[in-house]
């Protein structure tokens, strides 16, 4: 089973999903991220889903729970690069991913996170 790599960039963790997200992979990502946030004391997590053409309700819920987990551990999650078809599907499924912050692309996502850092009086 492929595990999705997590990169560290400053105080943020960067995850780019390039493969189809199977249920197991999504759960593994949730585990791995929780570990890495704790290990690095990260303050931001950015998940790029621009390569995902399909997001089902399971993945939607995983993203929401990663957001909750990160929040509890003191990090902010931003999901970027959602494709229009995916957004439409999620809305049709009734998943508005409340509490999950989103941005159009990685650049804006990082800007959002560093803005957060600054307002928190970060390093």
């Amino acid at each position: 089973m492929d595990r999705i790599p997590i990169l560290k960039m400053g105080h943020c963790l960067l995850v780019t999903i390039q493969i189809d997200l199977l249920d197991q992979t999504a759960l593994a990502l949730q585990d791995d991220l929780s570990e890495r946030i704790a290990a690095t004391a990260a303050q931001g997590v950015l998940i790029d889903i621009s390569a995902l053409e399909v997001v089902d309700s399971f993945v939607g819920r995983i993203l929401a729970s990663i957001s909750g987990i990160s929040g509890i551990m003191g990090a902010t999650l931003v999901v970027v690069g959602m494709q229009p078809a995916v957004a439409i599907t999620l809305v049709e499924l009734g998943l508005s991913l409340d509490g999950v912050r989103t941005a159009l692309d990685v650049e804006r996502g990082m800007a959002l996170l560093s803005g957060d850092e600054r307002s928190r009086g970060g390093h």
């Binding site: 999901v79 970027v80 959602m82 494709q83 229009p84 957004a87 439409i88 999620l90 809305v91 049709e92 508005s96 991913l97 989103t102 941005a103 159009l104 692309d105 804006r108 996502g109």
Partner: protein, 284 residues
Amino acid sequence: MKQENALFDDVLKAAPGDFLTSWLSEATQSGDSASVAKTAPQDAQELLDSLQEAVRADADLTRFDDDAWSRTRSVLAELSQSRAAQGASAGETSYFVLAIKRPLFAGLRKLLDGSPQHAFDAVWAASTLVDRMAQWTATTYQRSREDVILRQQQELLELSTPVVKLWDGVLAVPMIGTLDSSRTQLVMESLLTRIVETGSELAIIDITGVPTVDTLVAQHLLKTVTAIRLMGADCIISGIRPQIAQTIVQLGIDLQGIITKATLADALSLALKKGGWVFSRPAR
């Protein structure tokens, strides 16, 4: 060949010139418009040929849906489509087909002068066949008109929801007409795609042209806004007319924190402010 088919074949080949003349004079009596009457002779000839072909191939005269009649059916379909495109009515088009009864009955009567019972059966068979042909023509006519209407509807749908770039990072969608689920789908797809293409963070949906907003329409709007937010952009709804505002309040519709403005100008002003733009007008 079956006996009846042979009989019909005799009628059709007896005096083709007279047959066509009699048919055309009967058909144009119904007042076909001039342009349609021009192509009538070729249409009649083609139809006659296809009939002869089918009759000689021993096609069953009572079953017009059989494969043996497929050429006749396609000739009739083409005829009705071209007449529909020229603006002829369904009545005129099917009357053209029905008019063949005149020469057909006359021909049968001549051949079967001495045997009235036989003549009656033959005329009945001829009449039913021609009626079925006319029905087929009318049905195809209906269908091609419906196709035209459907195509126009589709074009109308696409034309009435353009996504325009109002400013750097600001897109606007002026909605015209009722907002139903198919329209919403179209708007969502085109707007979201443009958001990604242009990297715009703000979309303004203007509903000045939407006549009524009920709970269903509000749902569609909210769906669109949710999708926009999911992608990381935001949305302002403008063009809220007083009656619409009253309806929304009366129905208790929750707009879930979407910013709304009365006019597109107000929405643009807000969008620019959010983007950090400062405008000044020097004193004159």
